[in-house]
Amino acid sequence: MLPAMSASASTAAPGTAQIQTLPNGLQWLARRVPGSQAAVRVAYRVGARDDPPGRAGLSHLVLRALSAGASRYLEAGRFQRLLAQAGGSGGVQPDEDFSALDTLVPAHQLERVLWAEAERMSNPLLDEAALTLALAQLRQAHQQALMPPYARLEQAAVRQGYLLHPYQRGALGDPDQLADVGPAELKAFHAAHFRCDRALLVVSGEFDAEQLARWVQHHFGSIRPPLPGAGPSPSATLATSAPSPVASPTPQSPGPAPAPPASPNAAPSSGSAPPVQEPRRPQSQTVRLALPRLPLPAAALVWQAPPAGDPQALHWQMAHALLGRGRSGRLTDTLVDEQGLAHQLSLRLVQHQQGGLLIAQGLGARGQSAAPLAEALKREVLRLPDEPISPEEFDKARALLRRAWQAREATPEALARTLSESWIRRGDPLAASTDLAALEPPAANRGAAQAGLTSEAVQQLWRRLVVPAPVLTLLCDAGGAA
């Protein structure tokens, strides 16, 4: 007999993006994507920000150890072989806010993968062998990330972009801090954080909704809930509340951003460490980095940005699209094509659960130097409110965003990723879909009118939150001159 659903479980039909909760606390949701494949993603609400001091990367290490898949009924290597025999693939996603295990298989293999995922969730073998393997893989992933010539500039932008928040450690961690981790520490961290009641299971792709519900009940419902008191350590907790330094006040009611509205899909907060408060950057700062033998000068400008759940996140995204998306974004159009100052430009809007950064990075064309490049880049970013945005330009940015966001839901694995990230970062797995609806022109739907997504509103936001904000400038001249 299957276990009964918990009282808090939703009564919505499976197959929608409505979260169900099993009696052991595991949350799950499923959404169909037509095709031949099915994706299974298990996302735990523990990420690099939860790593203990001096152990940057511990959550990543546990994730790698789990991904090896060795467990009570799966000897080492069998998980991967089972996936391969199914014609599928698997992977991991370490992140600042969460840790996720991914698999993608032909749809008829779905139940086998659910069994295997439940197995590595409930009975993982975190022994010396798993630890050695995980550490080797973590070192390799860390090394791979450092291979591009400008990787250390990108790293510095994050490390120095956050003043205090553990986000500054990045998602991958530091292998040197993990060299002496033993199996006992690995197991203890796993027990505290990688619990079924801190996980979200997402299934997307081709499946029969009723059958899937039975499978999930059968394979995951039988996992024993964690013992009382086996909660997460508050290691990353530095404050008890976290108003973002750049949370967007609504135009009508200036002040800190309100909490996102309660939703039946909201990620539960019980057991979570309180958010860390990132202070506002007190003043602009310029740092010169001496990176060896760079072929071209480079500059990065870093502004504090609001967290993913900010009520005006859509406006930030639109501003980002106007400046940095596509071949005709303002930064590229002006600095690469028109003025020839830069060889390459990028604008990244990084929005985590508790804070974010806006990072404009450029490689100067030959003959340029870093400081003038940074000045030009800054000028162009800050000019957004001054230069009129034509309806055509706004529609173009909207088209770029629409396509990018449609792609987030177009394949089973992309949708699983989107749903879980929205759940963890924004408290609602459907938030990304809501964005897409709100993107349409106001005449077409009510969502856009409510969101107030107009060029004037975007410019106003920029004028209020970015133009006067202190900025961190990182400069690297070619050849390592500092």
Partner: protein
Amino acid sequence: MKRRHLLLASTAAPALGGLSAPAWSQRGFDQPPEPGPAAAPPVPTVSSTALPNGLRLSVLEQPAAARVALRLRVPGGWWRETAGREGLAELCLSMLSQGARRGDEVMDSADLAFAGDQLGRPLRQFLSGGGAELALEALPDQADDAFNLLADLASAPTLTFEALEHQRERAQDALALLRAGAQDLAPWIARRQFWGKSVPVASRAGLQRLKRADVQDFHRQHWRPEKAHLVVCGPLGFAAARDLAMDCFADWRGAKGAASAGTAATAAAPPASAWMLPLAGATGSGCRLLLQTALPRSAPPATRALARVLLLQRLAARQPWPWESGIEAGPGPASPAAWRLSLTLPPAAVAEQLAWLREQLPRLAAEPVTADDLALAQALALGEWQRALERTPDESLSAAIAAGELEDWVQWPQRLRGVSAPVLQLALGACWQEGRIHALLVGELPPADTLARAWPGLAAATMRAVIGE
């Protein structure tokens, strides 16, 4: 029935002095459930025709897709560059997006960029040895805009002096970047290592010598309708796609008097070699390790794919690393293809890994292929194909057409099933034989003596020797 949950064990373990509580036996969870019945693999239907001007059109109709994807491919890749004109294919491709005519109207680079972005995804340009491609995407009601834009770019680029100067400078900067990063540089060195010095590699001085007339000639030679292939995938029927192609591309005429396009050189693979190229200032950035072997062109595509995925599986079963594996075609029909394995490693791990590979790679390739191995490889290769068909059908179809493997692509499931274990073993065993593996290390290297012990014969190379500048 409850699973014995590790949380219980791991929570209790520290308190019990590290002793793990034994999990108790449970029926029903000790074996994976049997898979359900597999759905029949899809059979993609590709409709093809040729326009009066010779442009070939292939359409894969996908009614459920949200967007129409277009790819226009010509054989003007870097293998077509002649000595002294290295970098020309890339320069020509990049200049297409710098200006084009539509009737009497001239669109500059900003107009073209804006037009592509308006469709929702920027114009993309791809260059390989075998060809050059332009790719666009659009919603179905904007498909005509995408067809028009693609036709303008391919058939009526302005190729101005200003665009040449702008793109030349960008190409020279890109070259400097390429040489600073081991990951991007390594494949270029590997090509020279594998096919010899006939592989064209751009140099700063060479780029400086290129003239507008060179670009125009290259465009005339290779960007011609009778050499081009347009691939359309998405919610657009064949008739509609053909009509749009006729409307937009019918006026495209190859310029008269174009010089002979020539044929790409045929390169025979030099004997196996082992090179290491340290990059100055690469401290902390890691070492890029590449291994290559020749893959006979006679091996059918399905056999090649099965060999590739099976070897990766065998490596993954013994190694923790995420190896990348790819097969690159050579310059001519008689040239062997290069099967390449690559990986980034911390320098401290390189020597041991290299020694292991030298000893084990030939053994892994020579292992008997069992029925289970064959089934596993078939499942993996089928899964790869299905995912490509659903995610990036235009890319996958265009690549198959360019390789002359459309028939195989369409009938992929049957082709995979048609490969037997002995045939697969023969193909796999013919590769990665001792003495026939090229090894290459680029970036931050461990001490040379440790490497020499790991792979005897490993020789230091210089940028000047392998790239020529």
